[in-house]
């Protein structure tokens, strides 16, 4: 890893004294020789949306499934809403909402039947019609699961995840397979939930999704949390060099600088009028993410 070269820590912990919905320390889960989760420390502050990014097989799903109480752990301390998930009871579950990766159940039931049925599991569920409306399935209320499109099925999953009025909602790759418009609508739904104070732990492959939705972004690679910060500062993004590029004659010139504004002013002074093909580029979340993952996968030098 090349953390030595950065001045700020890559994993920025939650502020001390923050009200935590999730607190994980030293979480480990091994499957034979495979270290699926290899020492994850993670805080999720109440009321925030935290997005977990990471390549397939990095340990995102194993980590969230341990937090959800589905999987056992080999080591580490885990508290989810103040309870160890390994000993979570029905009351604890009623405070969680879980939207898993793909499922193909409930095909023979209508949207309304499914949502109304699951509402019955919770001590004080939300209004069935209102939840169906909020996920944009009002017109598909009487449609059976098998007849829903992929995106509509995913919304049904979310409806079932939020029907109990959860304090903490887990969303595992919720928008995989959505078209761009459906994703944007889905983001609005998540923003609305966040607005009501629901804490959300989201895993995703889409960096734009993380940037738009998340208060903080965590990057998991090879079973460890290698970076965690607000999207604008992730991986020292705010302190990294900006690249100014322009054209001189037939040649494209670039300059990396900490002071792009001053540099562009100078550049403008050297040119008569417009600087040809001028652009200022700061590393996108994707650039930062790829370099974090890349650094982690190369052996330390």
């Amino acid at each position: 890893m090349s953390t030595e070269t950065t001045t700020t820590p890559l994993v920025v912990p939650a502020p001390p004294g923050a009200d935590l919905a999730v607190r994980v320390r030293g979480l480990r889960r091994y499957y034979g020789e495979t270290r699926a989760v290899d020492g994850v420390d993670l805080d999720v502050v109440r009321g925030e949306v935290l997005a977990l990014l990471g390549p397939n097989g990095a340990g995102k799903t194993t980590t969230t499934e341990i937090l959800e109480g589905y999987r056992k752990r080999d080591a580490g301390d885990v508290m989810v809403l103040g309870v160890d998930p390994a000993h979570g009871d029905g009351h604890w579950r009623s405070r969680l909402g879980i939207v898993l990766q793909s499922a193909s159940d409930l095909g023979d039931l209508t949207v309304e039947e499914s949502v109304a049925h699951f509402a019955g599991y919770y001590p004080s569920p939300r209004d069935v019609g209102e939840v169906i409306e909020s996920v944009g399935l009002a017109e598909k209320r009487r449609t059976r699961g098998f007849d829903l499109s992929g995106g509509q099925r995913r919304r049904l999953d979310v409806a079932l995840g939020i029907i109990g009025g959860p304090e903490l909602l887990f969303l595992d790759e919720p928008t995989t397979g959505f078209d761009p418009e459906a994703r944007r609508e889905f983001w609005e739904l998540i923003r609305g939930l966040r607005g009501t104070g629901t804490t959300i732990l989201l895993t995703t492959h889409y960096l734009d999704e993380a940037e738009v939705l998340a208060d903080r972004v965590g990057v998991i690679s090879r079973g460890r949390l290698i970076a965690c910060d607000v999207p604008a500062r992730l991986g020292g993004r705010d302190e990294s060099l900006a690249t100014v590029s322009w054209r001189e004659g037939d040649e494209v010139r670039t300059e990396e600088t900490h002071e792009p504004t001053r540099f562009v002013q100078e550049l403008a002074g050297r040119h008569d009028g417009e600087v040809p093909a001028l652009s200022v580029h700061r590393p996108s979340l994707e650039d930062v993410y790829l370099s974090l993952i890349g650094d982690d996968e190369e052996p330390a030098s």
Binding site: G69, G90, L100, A103, G120, Y122, V135, G165, G197, T198
Partner: protein, 278 residues
């Protein structure tokens, strides 16, 4: 899309496991009867078998006033127990493990016992529906005599209930055997067929080779068919049995033993997760 309600933090009492179990029964029944495959397999096949066997062998007399059709209807009613409980659950539960039903339920506050109440309710309703169809077809087409003696109906009741409980538990336990939902019926159906062939459903039990009779007597279906014959055949037919009597105490004892065995097996082996996911 709008969201208006804040998350609840109230401490309303959780719904009771029994009331959730009854909700599960309703949802199981809806799912079961809307799924054409399970409806066909569970309801049409036994009736179809009854019509075919009844038409081919129905008029063979097994004794004075006893036709093979009557013998066969009793066997099919006993098979109905096996179809609606063991076969139904040993196929449906692996499919639910595959399609995400079980994982989704596990993530809710629903107590696990409610899930099993739902399955038991489904099994009982499906069995009652199936037996009704078989009895009606038997009475109308194959001279099946409904007993007038209340003691016989009592036998019918305990045999049905003990058979359903033991085979439901065995179906729950066996649901871990198929590797996935798709292959489940290929694993389960042959077992049911073998039991039917060796337990006196398709053939007259006393005419089977001795080793086959011994084999079948380890399993519930042989005793269940025998108890059902005691209900639906005239008393004189007891002479057709291997022991020359209905052996009802033995029937009850074996079925009770399988209830206990099924409970132990299902507690030991049942899994919510797919293999390697925990």
């Amino acid at each position: 899309m709008t969201t208006t309600t804040a998350p609840h933090t109230s401490s309303a009492p959780a719904p009771s496991p029994l009331s959730l179990g009854l909700r599960r029964v309703r949802i199981e029944l809806k799912t079961f009867f809307r799924d054409r495959n399970s409806a066909v397999w569970n309801f049409l096949l036994p009736v179809l078998l009854l019509v075919i066997f009844g038409s081919v062998f129905g008029n063979q007399d097994l004794g004075p006033g006893i036709t093979f059709a009557q013998y066969f209807v009793a066997g099919m009613i006993a098979s109905g127990v096996l179809y609606t409980s063991f076969q139904n659950l040993a196929i449906a539960i692996p499919m639910e493990r595959d399609d995400g039903t079980l994982k989704r339920l596990q993530g809710t506050p629903m107590p696990k016992v409610s899930y099993f109440i739902g399955k038991i309710g489904l099994v009982f309703v499906a069995y009652i529906a199936q037996v009704t169809i078989l009895v009606v077809v038997g009475v109308v087409f194959y001279k099946l005599h409904l007993p007038s003696d209340p003691a016989k109906w009592f036998t019918f009741l305990w045999a049905s209930v003990l058979g359903l409980i033991s085979c439901t538990l065995l179906g729950i336990a066996f649901s871990v055997v198929p590797k996935n939902g798709k292959g489940a019926s290929a694993v389960v159906s042959p077992i049911v067929l073998v039991l039917q062939f060796t337990s006196g459903v398709f053939f007259v039990f006393s005419q089977l080779p001795h080793w086959m009779q011994v084999f079948a007597s380890f399993f519930p279906l042989k005793w269940l068919t025998q108890a059902m014959r005691s209900v639906f055949l005239p008393d004189s037919a007891a002479s057709l049995e291997v022991a020359g009597s209905w052996e009802l105490p033995a029937c009850a004892a074996v079925l009770i033993a399988w209830c206990v065995g099924g409970l132990v097996l299902s507690l030991v082996f049942f899994r919510w997760n797919k293999r390697g996911q925990a």
